[in-house]
């Protein structure tokens, strides 16, 4: 079996996992089962990242999404809903319009994808030439780290300020006042 075949097999495996996980989020009635299904989907997307030579982001995906965000969501469920009640209606009155709108979006996007000719080897002018040349040999993590620390240091700093703001905002919003 050639490596290309193996990559194709992994692709179909992860694709099936991701689609089933995503459908589970929308279809399952118990919200906790939806969370577990979402975790499956996130792991499958991390698998795609590995297939696409983005190992650093695969690790980030597993650590941040699965390790932090989904655990946070589970805590929010714990704090706010009675998940074991069977009679909770999970959907609103817009089931059919929602599906129609999303299908229309999917079909439009599909036709845009198949009719677009992408420019191969798009050259980014301010990307250092030595890095572009060396990128075939270098670690993916090193390339991303170099970009974040040098070319994209300003967005990186803005992202940290955003995280600080979110931290303060979360504390302020969830803080229980003494008098109630």
């Amino acid at each position: 079996m050639s490596p290309a075949d193996l990559i194709a097999i992994y692709f179909y495996f992860f694709a099936a996992l991701a689609i089933l996980g995503a459908l589970g989020v929308v279809v399952l009635r118990n919200i906790f089962h939806s969370v577990l299904s979402m975790i499956v989907c996130l792991f499958a997307v991390a698998g795609f990242f590995v297939l696409l030579n983005a190992e650093f982001l695969a690790a980030v995906q597993v650590i941040i999404y699965v390790g932090a965000i989904m655990v946070l969501i589970i805590f929010a469920i714990l704090l706010s809903t009675r998940i074991m009640r069977r009679d909770i209606v999970q959907t609103n009155a817009y089931v059919l319009p929602g599906i129609i709108v999303s299908l229309a979006f999917l079909v439009t996007t599909f036709f845009v994808i198949i009719s677009t000719r992408f420019v191969e080897d798009y050259h980014v002018p301010f990307y250092p030439a030595w890095l572009a040349e060396a990128s075939e040999k270098l670690d993916n993590t090193m390339i991303v780290g170099w970009s974040l620390m040098a070319t994209y240091s300003l967005p990186f700093e803005i992202a940290s300020i955003l995280l600080l703001m979110a931290l303060i905002g979360g504390v302020v919003l969830a803080h229980r006042k003494e008098d109630d």
Partner: protein, 102 residues
């Protein structure tokens, strides 16, 4: 290296995005709406990484990294809002949060 065509990955990302969009429109529990939004963000991430790999546009990975950061910030604030909503209404339902409409 022959590989899976880029078209497969982008179509898959569009499919995941559409499923997330269905969740956002259809669900009435804000936590589930949140998870659907995360699903849509993930689909966008997947297409970023796909373009970064196939068009040799290495910055796509940087954008995806920043997108994950923004998603984390969004979850921190959003879940705090949901918990605060539950405290004032004793239930979690976006249809119950209509104070500003009335």
């Amino acid at each position: 290296m022959t590989d899976v065509p880029m078209f497969y990955y982008t179509t898959l990302a569009a499919l995941l995005f559409s499923i997330g969009a269905v969740g956002v429109i259809v669900k009435r529990n804000p936590i589930l709406i949140f998870m659907s939004i995360e699903l849509m963000l993930n689909a966008v991430n997947l297409s970023f990484i796909t373009y970064s790999r196939y068009l040799h546009f290495l910055e796509g990975q940087v954008y995806a990294f920043l997108l994950i950061t923004v998603a984390a910030a969004e979850v921190a604030v959003g879940l705090a809002i949901i918990v605060a909503l539950f405290r004032s209404k004793r239930e979690v339902d976006v249809d119950a949060a209509s104070l500003m409409k009335e």
